[in-house]
């Protein structure tokens, strides 16, 4: 999510393919290094309820995740 623009697609790929995963990891690191927060929208299998999952490392992304959303880190307003 980019201020002034909304949703911007950074990169996409299949994490099961080595080449794609390399690109996904690089994009993930680049965004976190730029000070962004990363979250994965998840759905509880039992209750069906949705929530966000904050991730701090690429390895924390659930395998079934379809997307990772980056947004500017929070600051006191």
């Amino acid at each position: 999510m980019k201020p002034g623009y909304g949703e911007v697609l950074l990169t996409e790929g299949d994490p099961r393919l080595a080449e794609d995963e390399e690109r996904l990891v690089a994009a993930f690191r680049r965004e976190l290094d730029a000070g962004m927060w990363a979250a994965v929208p998840t759905k509880d299998a039992a209750s069906g309820r949705r929530q966000g999952l904050m991730v701090h490392d690429y390895s924390e992304i659930p395998p079934e995740a379809e997307r990772v959303i980056f947004f500017p880190r929070a600051a006191g307003g």
């Binding site: 999510m1 980019k2 909304g6 949703e7 927060w37 929208p41 929530q51």
Partner: protein, 238 residues
């Protein structure tokens, strides 16, 4: 005679030369200043539809992430409610005092529950679960306004958490997230890591930025909205 006129002409030219050079210098400097007044980068034309398109994309993204009830709430009321998930330490003076400390500092131990949220034996909400009277507190999330913590059981307002998601890479333009992206960022941070968001926010007593009367009105609107939804869900079809 001719010699005298020539000498006079040379004298006049010598006298006028410095003044002419000053005029030329002034004109050149003037044109430079004029150029500086209108930088090239500011000549770019602003796209009036950009923000509208960004908000449309943001709404789609928000809809795809929220629970159905939350999306309907945002679409119809303009805000969403998120159940507080921090487990509040038990009732009693000890717990209450600890929470008062947190209310004063906005930081502290591992459970930065809203000020005043430890007045009874409450349980924390499950992820994304609508709060019930059993929950100690919940939040109202508005776009580009503070997050308001309140007690669902009593409708008592607890605190305001002023938080924003600024674009640090482009602080000059001061661009901000579209409304729906701001709500989504708050929702993900609250449901994903409530404590971290509260630590980064500035906590104030209710009424600092939002009119408490308006918030109470929104709580009433929310109750009415839920009552209508329950009634329509229970109504026999046919």
């Amino acid at each position: 005679m001719l010699l005298a006129l020539l000498a006079l002409g040379l004298l006049a030219a010598a006298l006028l030369l410095p003044a002419a050079m000053d005029a030329v210098r002034a004109r050149r400097a003037g044109s430079r200043r004029t150029g500086a007044r209108v930088p090239r980068e500011r000549l770019s034309v602003r796209d009036p539809g950009r923000e509208r398109r960004a908000e449309q994309r943001a709404r789609e993204l928000l809809r795809s992430c929220l629970n159905g009830e939350e999306w309907a709430m945002y679409r119809e009321l303009g805000f969403i409610r998120v159940a507080g998930r921090t487990i509040v330490r038990g009732a009693g003076e000890g717990g209450r005092a600890a929470d008062s400390d947190r209310a004063a500092t906005g930081v502290g131990d591992e459970s930065p529950a809203p000020a005043g949220a430890a007045d009874g034996p409450h349980r924390a909400g499950e992820p994304g679960e609508p709060p019930t009277d059993e929950h100690s507190y919940a939040y109202l999330v508005y776009p580009h306004k503070p997050i308001v913590a309140y007690e669902p059981a009593t409708r008592r307002l607890l605190s305001e958490y002023c938080v924003e998601f600024p674009d640090l890479s482009d602080a000059v333009t001061g661009a901000r997230l579209p409304d729906s992206d701001d709500v989504l960022a708050k929702w993900m941070a609250l449901t994903g890591d409530e404590q971290r968001l509260l630590r980064d926010a500035n906590m104030h007593l209710p009424g600092r930025q939002l009119d408490p009367g308006r918030v109470r009105r929104d709580l009433w609107r929310l109750e009415e909205w839920e009552r209508r939804r329950r009634r329509s869900a229970e109504a026999p079809r046919g």
